[in-house]
């Protein structure tokens, strides 16, 4: 990877071994492909099994409790769906994971969030680099007012990961990854606002992926998209694991079932239930979960 600055070579190399075509995976007895990929990402086995985890996390805005004492871990290389009725604190919880709430007036927290074993609020934690490692995709597409190509590499530029002609390489690679390359390759210099909503959201995904994140936070990424675009995005999300750890807030229970391995159910700011997606939907332990997944509350 000639275009990676030394500062990030480690990081991107590691990602690349898993995302790119050069992954060497030899299957063996009793080991899934996922295990092997995860092992390739972390050959020494020193990284915690949970990419990111909330520990006893409580969040409030101006004395109003939004999230209460949530402890949950997000296993590396999986998709965790975060479901719950409107106003249950899903978005607040998600936005806290890359410190987007820090500057909101009245925001207060107790407890901690750890990324790779280190608190995201630790003084040694560089906020900008934290956001590079924990990316975010929003409810509605939010392209920047610059060309399509510049959108993809906006973060790469900001973090000085690549420059000059190398940016073109990054742009093409990421647009291919999200399946947008063929549609936009002849108009990379055009405004992104003329793309369809689904294409814009894919562009935002490409932009988030371009900086090489470890965790990707998705805040209802398909809520403004049509069914076909939604399917494309879901497929893309599945393809991102196990290289990335995804946390997907969604109102669409079908989407949670289709895409995620784990699901957590938040209700009135509390973590009611958390477990493998199939168990949670088919054998919910809590009556509230049952009511929600069967459509009786929500």
């Amino acid at each position: 990877m000639p275009f990676i600055s030394p500062r990030y070579r480690d990081r991107v190399d590691r990602d690349d071994r898993t995302v790119g075509p050069g992954i060497e995976v030899t299957s063996g007895p009793g080991r899934s492909e996922v295990d092997l990929v995860l092992e390739a990402m972390d050959p020494d086995g020193v990284r915690p099994a949970e990419a990111i985890a909330a520990r006893n996390l409580s969040l409030c805005f101006a004395d109003k409790h939004i999230v209460s004492e949530v402890s949950v871990g997000f296993p590396r290389g999986t998709i965790t769906a975060l479901i719950g009725p409107t106003g249950c604190g899903k978005s607040t919880f998600l936005r806290t994971l890359n410190r987007m709430n820090d500057r909101v007036p009245g925001f207060a927290r107790q407890g901690d969030v750890v990324l790779d074993g280190e608190s995201i609020w630790a003084p040694s934690q560089d906020l900008l680099n934290l956001r590079r490692r924990v990316g975010m995709v929003f409810q509605r597409p939010n392209p920047f007012p610059m060309s399509i190509r510049d959108n993809v590499v906006a973060g790469v530029r900001a973090h000085r990961i690549a420059k000059g002609k190398q940016l073109d390489v990054v742009a093409e690679e990421r647009l291919r990854q999200v399946g947008l390359w063929d549609a936009v390759k002849d108009r990379l210099g055009d405004s992104p606002f003329r793309l369809s909503g689904g294409q814009q959201q894919l562009l935002c995904l490409a932009r988030a992926l371009a900086v090489g994140p470890e965790v990707l936070l998705l805040d209802e990424p398909t809520s403004s998209l049509d069914p076909i675009s939604t399917e494309l995005v879901e497929e893309l999300l599945r393809s991102l694991t196990p290289a990335l750890t995804l946390i997907l807030v969604t109102h669409n229970l079908g989407q949670a079932r289709r895409t995620s391995q784990h699901t957590m159910f938040l209700y009135q700011g509390r973590l009611v239930e958390h477990g493998p997606t199939q168990d949670l939907f088919e054998r919910p332990k809590d009556p509230d979960t049952l009511h929600y997944v069967t459509g009786r509350i929500g």
């Binding site: 890359n98 987007m100 906020l127 900008l128 680099n129 934290l130 956001r131 590079r132 990316g135 975010m136 929003f138 509605r140 597409p141 939010n142 392209p143 920047f144 007012p145 610059m146 060309s147 906006a154 973060g155 900001a158 973090h159 210099g189 055009d190 405004s191 606002f193 935002c204 932009r207 988030a208 900086v211």
Partner: protein
Amino acid sequence: MDLAGTAPTGVSPVGARPARRPHLRRIRSLARAHEHHLWVAGGRAAALVPLVALALTMVVLAWKAWPAARVNGLHFLVASTWKPGSTYGAVTRTDGVAHPVGASYGAWPVIAGTLESSLIAIVIAVPVSIGAAFALTERLGGWLAGVLRTAIEILAGVPSVIIGLWGALTLGPLLANDVYPVIARNMPDLPALRFFKGPVGHGEGLATSGIVLALMIIPIIASTTRTLFAQVPALPKEGGEALGMTDWEVSRRITMPWVRAGIVGAAVLGLARALGETIAVAMVSGSLLNTVAPNLYGTMGTIAATLVTQLDSAFVDGTGFEVRTLAELAVVLVVVLLLVNTAARLIVRRAGGIAAPVGTGA
């Protein structure tokens, strides 16, 4: 045509009860049926008013100016003389236009003065205004923003004659004593920078005019720009933040480009005001008619200021030639304004290429 379904006899279709005042009813129903056309016609008429006003102004000005333009010739745009001639003496005729003997007019000094002072004003005002608007919407919160916003609004409402008086009595001398000498002394002695060196005068002149003009257009540009910034949606900015951009990068790469076209428009609004500003400049420029300012601090005049300072003496000219010359000068100002406006539109079109127009996108 029976649009409302009202029978011609004036009987309401609902029942046997006769309609009251059938004619009025009929007119009203016709008006309702044709309401759309009324709106279109009314709208067109309203849209024409400013156009007609502009055209009439131009025609009247041109009418007044034409004889002077014939006598003064193209020479008027490049010459540096302003001689009314012997206004109490003999009258002569050129091309059938009567004018005093020895009358000779050239507007180059005031044209240059207009452009120079406005350029200084815009160079100072645009960064200051964008900075102020930016601080207001993005960085300052609470009472401080309120204070700054109120200050800008008050500044916008101060009559220009008061700013001019303050400029002539306080700001000009202050600058001439404490600021200009420092600039003139410390500027490297290069041919390209000669303009910034030399005698600094007493506070009346080009630099003071430019600064006073800047003060007058800052509120215009700042309040327009503030509105623009406030309209930038939060989502793209959050996107930048979430990507690990610094506040500066978010401002520079997302907020500003989002409203770039609008900022150019605001700057043009300010520039037009600066080009046409009259009384404040008349009070601080030194009102020189026949010399281009030799350096940044020299006395000078502008077209607008010349119109107001020369009108009184122009009426002394019994042939009316000087008044006609002033009308010609006014035409020149209007043309300059139109050129600036057109240039700005072209810039906006280019700048707006990729950036989203306000209100679209996310």
